[in-house]
Symmetry: C2
Subunit: 147 residues, 2 copies
């Protein structure tokens, strides 16, 4: 995960401090980027590294008051990675259209939703498709090695 190009002054809001959210937040914080991370359960922040220097916000991100407190209106990047596809979609679509955030990324578990987002301005990350691709690469590589 390089993330070398993201601008110094970009405001990044991450919704969901699970494994993925925490991992992205730690990487961006290591690069001295401005990160706010929101989670409904404050125990989730335990996944952040001790050196994480961003802002933590405990609250339900489907509540617009919580998002405003996270200064979503000033965000350049919104990353919706709760463990609920519908919440990620809802937040991504609403915030993109209301605040015209430059870059909105949502993680979705259900690959059948891919077609819906192909033509939207939301970037989607599908772990199941990425994992299937990786299994394919491992199997193809194994066979190449035997040749």
């Amino acid at each position: 995960m390089k993330m070398n190009n993201i601008k110094d002054d970009y405001q990044i809001v991450i919704i969901g401090c699970g494994r993925l959210g925490a991992s992205i937040a730690n990487t961006l914080s290591n690069k001295n980027r401005n990160v706010t991370i929101v989670d409904i359960n404050k125990d989730s922040f335990g996944k952040l590294s001790p050196s994480f220097s961003g802002l933590l916000m405990e609250g339900d991100a489907t509540d617009i008051k919580v998002l405003k407190k996270a200064e979503i209106n000033k965000a350049d990047v919104l990353i919706a990675v709760t463990d609920n596809d519908n919440i990620n979609i809802l937040i991504a679509q609403m915030m993109k259209s209301i605040f015209n955030i430059k870059e909105v990324i949502a993680r979705l578990y259900d690959p059948e939703k891919e077609c819906v987002y192909k033509e939207s301005h939301i970037q989607t990350v599908f772990p199941a498709l990425l994992s299937a691709g990786e299994v394919g690469r491992i199997l193809d590589k194994e066979e190449d090695d035997e040749k």
Copy 2:
């Protein structure tokens, strides 16, 4: 997911017919490969495509009798992708050591387990790491586009 190189006569056993297991099984079946897929819940097989031509086996894959029925002893490839990391590890390690299966792949949700498997002969797939990498690529690409 290419999987073009996997040999025609390879016996492939997939444990877990969730999104990932079903996706791999469908791809391999489309390429006329020999696939057996095992799941504890027969409703899971509903995720397979109607054209899936492999064998379905309902049963608990932590029960060696079920694995034997799936002819794990003849398998060239074992792919452990249940939704439980510990079960995937257990099956992968035991079957690799007992039957010396050529290629054993396990999906693991917890990226902290990565270091444990780096030096084993089990290939691991970490959806959280793949997803974090993908988010990084999206963010880096966005910045490149603006330059």
